[in-house]
């Protein structure tokens, strides 16, 4: 394989990887605080893309405005899901919230079918993102630069919130010890809402950019990327934000490179993630950057 080809695949891998990473962050943040796998997160990703469709076709918003609005609305849906489906179960056994999450996932998928129909829809894409540029020998899609760059900026924003703001301090505190945070005066429910809001906004951004790359919208479009992002979060060490980012990028990269080097295996593309999952669970069950898991008392 020529260097030019390798770079091209590399950019594709980075693009896919950042999309996984953005979703994985939401899984890992919610898990870090509530020890809950939010299975509805795939549907949040999907809704982000659908809301752009809605914004551009129903309200005739310009695409970039529709995207921002979609991110905000999806964040609201994420917060609402927590309020309605998880908060009432906060003191219940953890398995109850997990079942509730699966229920929400089905509900949102079917609600989307009712609202938008099950027929795949195409979303508007600005043409310049799809026009290859020639940089030396390398054919570069502007999209494969735009997606990793925007993802990187969003992650920087996240780091700022988590490590430089008071709400971020609250998040880091309740991820370790909810009760003590509570008696220190941290409004736990508000911080949890914020966590769902941020995680959902990032998933929406991922879904929207996913639709720029793969422009077919379907109500079940979240399942596979959601699953893979979940694997990325586990691979990186669930509960760790850097782990989710690294896991996502590694997963996206491996997937693209495996297909590039072994085109015959292209049909097994979706299986790579699961092979990776099994491998990490055998070698280092807490993931690359996962701390030792202590069960909450």
């Amino acid at each position: 394989m020529s260097l030019a080809m390798f770079l091209q695949h590399g950019l594709n891998g980075l693009t896919l990887g950042s999309l996984y990473a953005l979703i994985a962050i939401g899984y890992t943040m919610v898990y870090g605080i509530l020890r809950l796998i939010n299975f509805a997160h795939s549907e949040i990703f999907m809704l982000g893309a659908y809301f752009v469709l809605w914004g551009t076709t129903l309200f005739f918003l310009p695409w970039y405005v529709a995207m921002v609005v979609a991110v905000v609305v999806t964040a609201g849906v994420g917060i609402l899901v927590d309020r309605v489906a998880y908060r009432p179960l906060r003191d219940a056994p953890r398995i109850s919230a997990l079942i509730s999450a699966i229920g929400v996932s089905f509900f949102l998928q079917n609600l989307t079918i009712v609202a938008f129909g099950a027929i795949p829809r195409e979303v508007y894409r600005p043409l310049w993102l799809e026009t290859p540029m020639l940089m030396g020998e390398v054919r570069v899609l502007p999209l494969t630069i735009f997606v990793p760059t925007l993802s990187f900026l969003l992650m920087l924003g996240l780091v700022w919130v988590v490590y430089r703001t008071k709400a971020g301090l609250g998040m880091r505190a309740i991820s370790k010890d909810i009760e003590t945070s509570y008696i220190m005066g941290v409004s736990v429910n508000r911080i949890i809402s914020l966590t769902f809001g941020i995680g959902s906004a990032l998933a929406a951004a991922s879904g929207i950019m996913w639709a720029l790359r793969y422009p077919q919208l379907q109500p079940v479009m979240g399942s596979i990327p959601g699953f893979k992002a979940f694997i990325a979060a586990v691979f990186g060490g669930i509960g760790s934000i850097p782990g989710a980012v690294v896991g996502g990028v590694i997963l996206g990269f491996t997937e693209i490179m495996a297909v590039a080097f072994f085109p015959d295996l292209a049909g097994y593309r979706d299986a790579f993630a699961f092979v990776l999952l099994i491998a990490i669970l055998l070698i280092k069950p807490t993931g690359l950057m996962g701390a030792k898991l202590e069960d909450k008392v």
């Binding site: 301090l169 609250g170 880091r172 370790k176 010890d177 008696i183 220190m184 005066g185 941290v186 409004s187």
Partner: protein
């Protein structure tokens, strides 16, 4: 300042506090002593708002606070330093202290109190960027006290602050409690180390299986033969 009247607490089927009544006057050190499981921690947790299943009255500066959430109780001026210190091991010393001030909005006041806490505990300033979990047991207890002070609460509830510390550090902790009190804070202290607690307490209560069996000044209880037999080793 704080009045607890006929407080009953239930854990599942267990009746942990049975009509507990205590008073904590402003500016005083009040201590609750008693054996393990007598209900000392339950009393503090109920006041802090962590126990919902309770009956009775808790009044602070004349208003009923028994229905408030832990966050509102901190805002009203009562803070608890929990048993086992419960500092955040993965956060820096400074972040731990800032968490203590989480419910406050007065930024200038927070900075002022931070300086004050550093004056009280110079070692915390030396280690402000270090992770809480890397501190020694004694330093962690200082951090837990400093964090409680950062809330600017007037009533500080301490749950077993001397637990697990070396004798020299235990003395230091009780000196600090006396200092904090001298600086104007009211202290409600729960201790197994009954002798040390009674020595610095203005008022003391002896708790047995969820009810007060004896009350008096610290000195009176040290002199009381029943207390001597049961808690001070004869």
């Amino acid at each position: 300042m704080l009045e607890v009247q006929d407080l009953n607490v239930f854990y599942g089927g267990i009746h942990a506090l049975k009509g507990l009544t205590i008073q904590v006057p402003q500016g005083r050190v009040v201590t609750l002593i008693g054996a393990n499981g007598a209900g000392k921690s339950s009393t503090l947790r109920a006041i802090a708002g962590l126990i919902r299943n309770k009956k009775g009255h808790i009044r602070y500066r004349g208003s009923e606070i028994s229905g408030l959430s832990p966050v509102d109780i901190v805002k009203s001026g009562i803070v608890m330093a929990p048993e086992g210190r419960k500092i955040f091991p993965h956060l820096s010393v400074l972040d731990n202290l800032r968490l203590g001030a989480y419910a406050r909005k007065d930024k200038a006041g927070v900075e002022k109190d931070l300086k004050w806490v550093y004056e009280l505990f110079p070692r915390l300033e030396d280690r402000k960027d270090q992770k809480g979990g890397t501190l020694s047991g004694g330093e962690q207890q200082m951090l837990a006290l400093g964090r409680a002070l950062m809330s600017a609460a007037d009533l500080i509830m301490l749950d077993e602050p001397s637990l697990g510390l070396a004798p020299k550090l235990v003395r230091e902790v009780f000196e600090i409690i006396a200092t904090i009190n001298a600086l104007g804070k009211t202290v409600l202290l729960v201790e197994q180390n009954a002798f040390a607690a009674l020595k610095i307490a203005h008022h003391a209560y002896v708790l047995e299986v969820g009810a007060i069996v004896l009350a008096g000044s610290g000195e009176e209880l040290i002199a009381d033969s029943r207390v001597r037999d049961a808690y001070l080793g004869g």
